[in-house]
Subunit: 199 residues, 4 copies
DNA sequence: GATGAATGAGTTTTCATTCAT
DNA sequence: GATGAATGAAAACTCATTCAT
């Protein structure tokens, strides 16, 4: 036990290897063999020893990316003022993460869609991903009620926001020479205009 | 060699089966076995007989979705006025496709990201996908030059647009009870605001 | 090497776990992993530390069941009169064991057939199992000589006896609501008739 | 599918190999690798190609043994007179099968106990095995009603009968020099006495 | 002595592809 | 051309055992 809280060094090493492989070759081509090689392990059996299965490892990857993301993003979001500010901080800090952990978000984007249809134990993660979008949607509605935002369908807005961020993340991955900061600012500007009250 | 132009009925049948399987279980869990079952074929060997390999089949899937999409979208885009109108028509007609071919876009979203890293023969498709985004980007720049659009980074805008559309497509797939037309209008409105000239 | 005489608490704990797993899932699905979990051990390595191998553990299981069986059965058999009485006591006390140790006999039935073909160190146990049947056979022959039993092939009788007892044990395991005492009496009656002198 | 009725030659070949391996090394040590080797196949994948899984193959083994057994036993049982005669014919013809198909019954004895706990699709076989014992039990009760048999618990009798036959089968397997016919007669005599009306 | 992480051979199964018919 | 049985490499996973601490 204790495993939930204190990840062993080996587990961390494997998760790290998995993140790199996922970001490089995508979920479909990710195998225990490649992860073991990347992590410098002598056998795939070792991964099975430390994780209950492929799904368990993938969930650990997602959890790790979430942990790292929250660590970076939350202080920045909370430091912002108003719902508009928090929306901007959310967008910018997500994109900025690419400089700090270039492979984490790409790995997450591979993992999340492939968690569906798996066994129920993974639904916890799916739910938390979904609930995060619902929180965003609530914030938008709250901002609309306070007059900070204009009128728009919040479901569409939050979906578009999620997709736009993911697309920038993925596309940056194939053109990594691009500066992250301006991309972040431009994307935040975009949604600032899209959510603004009509003059 | 008529194959390039005259698709055999078998090929069509297989591509159709592949689209359905891709949309249902995702690229990673799509196999020749499942496709053969879906298409009512008695062996996977028949798929290999009609296609040069898995990548070839996936490319055929993409081509089919493109064909169908263009058939639906192009008249609507060309009927629109100005770059603003064409942008709206592009967004709306893409989303509206969900009513006509509910599984095609989902299949495409599974296929495209997994074409990278494959053998060179597929690059043609990748290039055309990329060039389509470049065309969109050109149109935005042209619109900016004509004063139809405001100032924004066109790379970010076209990427966000692509991602937003894809996200709506995917999310609709898991909540198919939603009406397509309002989603399409809301999404077009969103990017209308995002691309508008500052007043 | 006091091990032969002084079983450590750990060994007892492991043997007990093994008996439970064997009775529940059968020999083929019994693994060190399941035994370790059942016994509350943190690793399978501890089993290998305390036993020379899987066969050694299985032999320890058999020995433990034998020990427990003799403890219960011997006084009852010796208290009986004549070979007929001893045969009845043997049958009844075996079946009655099910009430006292419901899993022990089932575990033994899983272990014994799978000991064949193993390395020579186990033959000692096999021999003692075989010799026990030979002792029974001797008793039957003795009883025949004394006129207590009728004429029959003692090999067949002792084999049938063994099989009949085992079958009742196994079938009771899947219908544990049945009362043990009447089953024991009926089975003893059966072999009383089968071994009786013709009138 | 026809497969149910017309077993392909390959399937037959694999089942035959499985029967031999099961009889030789027991269920626990039976693997696809050993079966493939025994059957002269180049890969284990071929077994998976022809059977849905290990359980499916094991069920096919059981079905084959049943088929062969019925073919041999039914005419002999039906040719017998009265319930006593049929009981004797049942016992004798089962044991005699050892001369004709020396490995089939041993394979069946390995397979049946290990089918429990498997997925529900196998329960059909388990049920038919159970129902066969119930048929035997019915026959004994009928014979009792007609005065052909004495008084005894039919559950115990049918269980003991089953176990006694199995034990002779298994023990003959390790002492194959014994003549089958006398064993069969002795065993039938045994149960004739055990089921006889008290004089 | 005792522990549990590590090992690598082994398991069943699925994969895309080949090839005899 | 068309079929489907066969192939063998690779997949995830389990196994009993080893070994550094």
């Amino acid at each position: 036990m204790g495993r939930t809280f204190t990840e062993s060094a080996r587990r961390t090493q494997i998760v790290q290897g998995a993140i790199e492989v996922l970001a490089e070759v995508g979920y479909a081509r990710t195998s225990f063999a490649k992860i073991a090689k990347q992590a410098g392990l002598s056998s795939t059996g070792m991964i099975s020893y430390h994780f209950a299965g492929k799904d368990d490892l993938m969930r650990a990857v997602a959890t790790e990316v979430w942990r790292v993301s929250e660590e970076y993003m939350l202080p920045r979001i909370e430091a912002a003022e108003g719902n508009r500010g928090r929306l901007r901080a959310y967008i910018e800090s997500t994109i900025e993460l690419l400089s700090v952990y270039p492979k984490h978000l790409a790995a997450l984007l591979e993992v999340v869609p492939n968690l569906q249809g798996s066994d129920p134990s993974l639904l916890g993660y799916r739910d938390s991903a979904r609930s995060m979008m619902e929180i965003q949607q609530k914030r938008l509605e709250e901002g609309q009620a306070l007059g900070e935002f204009g009128e728009f369908d919040t479901w569409v807005m939050v979906t578009a926001l999620r997709g736009a961020i993911d697309a920038v993340v993925m596309r940056w991955h194939s053109e990594p020479h691009l500066d992250v900061a301006p991309l972040a600012r431009q994307l935040a500007d975009l949604f600032e205009r899209a959510t603004r009250r009509e003059p």
